[in-house]
């Protein structure tokens, strides 16, 4: 994603999320920040963006994919069984029974499909909320004339890697206990090693690995 594309995306997102003024208002300082960068910084920023985009994770997990495929396969098997059953009889009661059995096929597949779509929407909502908080924090840092990471490091003394950081079960990042990203959320503390072994990366805002 180039910087101009990012600017377009943020503008479009701000327009779409007019009902959520916090995110929309926070998009502007980010664009101001990008506009203030010098040519050397822009080139470096673009390189960093490309590196991070390569580490992108998938929207759905393998388990969710398995649930979807399993549901669709079960639906297909039920449909095939109902068709074979109905083809092999001419009795009214049996035919109605097989037809009713066949109706279960779209129902089973529908439940699996709904689960797939809902989990996708849930993940996107979570990421959008996280991004909104990050942009807001970045904007707050700019308002004070300091970058957010510098503010965070000034406010919180450097913590040794042996200390514990917090995250909740569904989080992909771990945070300092006083990070705004986990404020008011049910989190559990663990060591850096435990978080990293769970596949989590340090929060880009509170920089728990610094």
């Amino acid at each position: 994603m180039t910087l101009s594309q990012l600017s377009d995306v943020l503008t479009a997102r701000g327009a779409r999320t007019a009902a959520r003024p916090r995110e929309a208002a926070a998009a502007d300082p980010l664009q101001v920040l990008i506009a203030e960068l010098g040519p050397h910084d822009v080139a470096r920023l673009s390189r960093l963006v490309r590196q991070r985009q390569r580490r992108r994770t998938e929207l759905w997990s393998a388990t969710e994919l398995l649930v979807l495929l399993g549901g669709l396969a079960a639906g297909a098997v039920i449909l095939l069984g109902a068709w074979i059953g109905a083809s092999g009889t001419s009795r009214y009661s049996s035919l109605v029974g097989w037809a009713a059995f066949g109706v279960a096929a779209p129902a089973v597949a529908g439940v699996a499909a709904a689960s797939w779509i809902l989990s996708g929407i849930k993940t996107i909502r979570r990421e959008t909320a996280e991004m909104g908080a990050r942009v807001t924090e970045l904007a707050a840092g700019r308002d004070n004339g300091e970058s957010a990471p510098i503010q965070a490091r000034r406010a919180v003394p450097t913590i040794l890697s042996s200390e514990e950081f917090v995250a909740s079960k569904g989080m992909t990042r771990f945070h300092r206990p006083d990070c705004l990203m986990v404020s008011g959320k049910p989190v559990t503390a663990a060591s850096v090693l435990a978080h990293r072994s769970a596949g989590r990366v340090p929060c880009g805002m509170c920089l728990p690995s610094c």
């Binding site: 994603m1 594309q5 990012l6 995306v9 943020l10 997102r13 980010l30 203030e36 960068l37 010098g38 050397h40 910084d41 470096r44 960093l48 963006v49 991070r52 985009q53 580490r55 992108r56 994770t57 929207l59 979807l68 639906g75 449909l79 109902a82 068709w83 109905a86 083809s87 009889t89 001419s90 009214y92 035919l95 097989w98 037809a99 066949g102 109706v103 096929a105 779209p106 597949a109 529908g110 499909a113 797939w116 779509i117 996708g120 929407i121 993940t123 996107i124 959008t128 991004m131 990050r134 970045l138 004339g145 970058s147 957010a148 990471p149 510098i150 490091r153 880009g204 805002m205 920089l207």
Partner: protein, 106 residues
């Protein structure tokens, strides 16, 4: 032209698959209707109802899932791009805070 079509097909495979599932659903519905309309016996109509009607319903559901998934995946890609940019900005600002040169900082 063909290459461009293949390129679009590769990038939009989920929407293309949704379109294929939609066409297959319509075909199954028409085949089921024709089968039912050509027989006078109830016992021969039910298998057509299952193989035509219910299959069409399932295929329509699959088409809907594929299309919605494509929209969600687009939004996810957009979010990942913004997250990557935010990460990069934080890293850039952190390195500037560590004393590196900055043309942007006032």
């Amino acid at each position: 032209m063909v290459m461009r079509f293949l390129h679009v097909l590769r990038n939009q495979w989920d929407r293309a698959a949704a379109l294929v599932a939609l066409v297959a659903a319509v075909v199954a519905l028409i085949a089921g209707y024709l089968g039912v309309s050509r027989t006078a016996f109830f016992s021969e109509e039910i298998p057509y109802l299952i193989s035509g009607g219910l299959t069409a319903v399932m295929l329509l559901g699959i088409a809907a899932v594929l299309y919605l998934s494509a929209d969600l995946r687009d939004e996810w890609r957009e979010l990942c791009g913004i997250h990557a940019t935010l990460d990069a900005i934080y890293e850039l600002e952190r390195s500037q805070g560590n004393g590196q040169s900055s043309a942007a900082r006032p």
